[in-house]
C-alpha cells in the first residue's frame, strides 16, 4: 500500500516537473522568436500567465459530450506517455532518480508508438463535434501529416529495436551507459530520420499546417476557449516535454540529473524551433511528400545499417 502511495506521489512529481518545464520552454520559445523578430518578446513566464488566465475564464461553451473528448484524449495521451517514458536514467547517482522512472515495462516503446497517435484521434472526434469546418479540415490535415512523419519515425525506432533486440526504453538507456556510446553515434541514420520526423511532430513551421492561422483560423482548436484551451495548452506542454525526453533517452544516453536533462532537451528542442522561425509553411501534400522523401530514405538506410552491422 505504502509502495503504491509513493508511486503516486512520484507520478505527480513527474507531472509537475513536466508541466513546469514544458510551459517554460513555451515561454522561452516565444522569447527567442521575439528576439529573432527584432523585438523584446514576452517574459519567459508568459505562458504560465496565459494558462492561468484561460483557467480562470468564467464561461466556457461546449458543443456536446464528444467535444470534451478532444481535450480529454490529449490530456490522457500526454500523461500516459509521460508516465511510460523514464525521465531520468534509473539507478543513477542521485537519490531522486527513481522518482522519475514511473511505469516503464518491456515493450513500452511499442505501446508508446500507439499512444502517441491517440491524442490526434481524440482531437478529431472533438473537432468533428464542434461543427466548425475549419476544425474538421485542420484535423484531416493533422492526420495526414501524422501519416507522413510516423513512417520515418517508426523506421528509426525499428532500426534501434533490430540492433539491440529490445523494446524497452530503460534497456536502451542501460545499453548506452554500458557501451559509453550514444545511439545517435551508434546508428546516425536512425537519429537523423528521427530528428526529421521530429520537425513534423512538434508542428512548428514549415509543418504547422494543422493550426495554420491564415488558412484555418486555428484549426482543430478553433472552437475551444477558456478551460478547454487551458487543458489543451498544458497537455501540449507536457507532451512536448515527454517527446523531448524520449528523444534524449533513446539517442542521447538519457540524463542522470535534472540539469543535464534540461540542457539536452532544450538543445534538441531548438532544432524545430529555429528551423521554424525562418520557414514558411508547406501545403499538406507537400509536407507528406517531404516526409516520404529524404526522411523515409534515411529511415530505410537506418534499417539496412541495423540489419547489416
Amino acid at each position: 500500500m505504502e509502495y503504491i502511495l509513493i508511486k503516486v506521489l512520484e507520478a505527480m512529481a513527474t507531472f509537475v516537473l513536466a508541466f513546469i518545464v514544458g510551459m517554460t520552454y513555451g515561454g522561452v520559445v516565444r522569447k527567442i522568436t521575439g528576439r529573432v523578430h527584432n523585438r523584446l518578446g514576452p517574459p519567459w513566464y508568459q505562458n504560465f500567465i496565459d494558462a492561468f488566465k484561460l483557467f480562470s475564464k468564467t464561461r466556457g461553451i461546449h458543443h456536446g459530450a464528444m467535444h470534451f473528448l478532444g481535450a480529454a484524449f490529449l490530456m490522457v495521451t500526454s500523461v500516459v506517455s509521460l508516465m511510460i517514458i523514464p525521465i531520468l536514467a534509473p539507478g543513477g547517482h542521485a537519490w531522486y532518480n527513481s522518482w522519475f522512472t514511473n511505469l516503464n515495462f518491456n515493450g513500452d516503446l511499442i505501446f508508446l508508438i500507439y499512444i502517441m497517435t491517440f491524442g490526434p484521434l481524440g482531437m478529431a472526434m472533438g473537432a468533428g463535434q464542434t461543427g466548425n469546418p475549419n476544425s474538421s479540415i485542420g484535423v484531416t490535415r493533422g492526420l495526414s501529416q501524422m501519416v507522413g512523419f510516423e513512417i520515418p519515425w517508426v523506421m528509426a525506432l525499428v532500426a534501434l529495436m533490430i540492433t539491440y533486440k529490445t523494446t524497452s526504453i530503460v534497456d536502451f538507456m542501460n545499453i548506452q551507459r554500458e557501451t559509453g556510446t550514444w545511439l545517435m553515434f551508434a546508428n546516425p541514420f536512425a537519429f537523423i530520420a528521427a530528428v526529421l520526423a521530429m520537425l513534423g511532430m512538434f508542428r512548428y513551421s514549415p509543418f504547422d499546417i494543422v493550426g495554420a492561422p491564415t488558412e484555418l483560423a486555428s484549426g482543430p482548436v478553433s472552437e475551444n476557449g477558456g478551460k478547454f484551451l487551458f487543458t489543451m495548452m498544458s497537455s501540449g506542454s507536457v507532451f512536448t516535454f515527454a517527446k523531448l525526453v524520449l528523444y534524449v533517452d533513446l539517442f542521447m544516453g538519457g540524463a542522470n540529473n535534472l540539469i543535464m536533462l534540461v540542457v539536452k532537451t532544450f538543445l534538441l528542442y531548438m532544432i524545430p524551433v529555429l528551423y521554424g522561425i525562418v520557414s514558411p509553411r508547406y501545403r499538406t501534400e507537400q509536407a507528406v511528400r517531404w516526409f516520404w522523401g529524404w526522411p523515409t530514405f534515411i529511415g530505410l538506410l537506418a534499417i539496412l545499417y541495423a540489419v547489416m552491422f
Partner: protein, 183 residues
C-alpha cells in the same frame, strides 16, 4: 474556507492580475484602424512584451478591438463575434469613429455610438490613434482589469434587452433570427 469572503477576494485579485497580463486580441480588423494594429503588434512597438497576443478565433480571444467605424453590415458580425467570446471579455473602441461617428457622422451606413450596441470598456481617440495611443489605451484597460472594473460582459447580460433593442433598430431582420447568446 474557500467560500470565505477574504480568500475569494485574494483569488479574484490574482485572477485579475493574470487577466490583465495576458490579453489575447481578436484578429478582426473591423475598420481602417486595423492598419495601426500591425505596427503595434510587431517589432517596433511590440505589444507582446506586455502580454498582448493575437487570437485567431473569438472563442480564444479576450478583447475585441473595434478598429474604427462600424458599418451596419459589420455591426451584425461584431455582435455575433462578441457573443461568441468567452467572458470575461472586453471591448476597446478605437478611433473617433466609434466615439461619435467621427468624420462619417452623416454616413447612412456607419453607426455613430458604439456603446449603444456593445459595452465599451476603453475608448482610444484619434483618427487614427498612433501605436503609442493604442498601447496607452490598452494599458488603461489593464489597469481597469486589475481594479476589477472591467465588467462589460456582466453589463451586457444585465442590460441585454436594451442592447438588443438598439441592435434590432439597425438590423431588424437579422438580430431577430439570431439565437440568444449561445452561438
Amino acid at each position: 474556507m474557500y467560500n470565505d469572503k477574504n480568500s475569494k477576494k485574494i483569488v479574484e485579485t490574482i485572477q485579475n492580475w493574470a487577466r490583465s497580463h495576458s490579453i489575447w486580441v481578436l484578429a478582426y480588423g473591423t475598420g481602417c484602424g486595423a492598419i495601426e494594429i500591425s505596427p503595434t503588434m510587431t517589432s517596433r512597438y511590440d505589444a507582446e512584451r506586455l502580454g498582448f497576443r493575437g487570437a485567431a478565433t473569438p472563442r480564444q480571444a479576450d478583447v475585441m478591438l473595434i478598429t474604427g467605424y462600424l458599418t451596419v453590415k459589420t455591426v451584425k458580425r461584431v455582435v455575433r463575434v462578441y457573443e461568441q467570446m468567452q467572458s470575461p471579455k472586453y471591448v476597446v473602441g478605437f478611433g473617433s469613429c466609434t466615439i461619435n461617428g467621427g468624420m462619417y457622422y452623416d454616413s447612412y451606413n456607419t453607426i455613430n455610438l458604439l456603446d449603444r450596441y456593445l459595452p465599451v470598456d476603453v475608448y482610444i481617440n484619434g483618427c487614427m490613434p498612433r501605436p503609442e495611443a493604442v498601447l496607452a489605451g490598452l494599458s488603461k484597460l489593464q489597469q481597469i482589469i486589475r481594479e476589477g472594473n472591467a465588467n462589460g460582459a456582466e453589463k451586457y447580460l444585465e442590460n441585454l434587452a436594451w442592447y438588443k433593442e438598439n441592435q434590432r433598430k439597425i438590423a431588424p431582420n437579422w438580430i431577430a433570427k439570431a439565437p440568444d447568446l449561445n452561438w
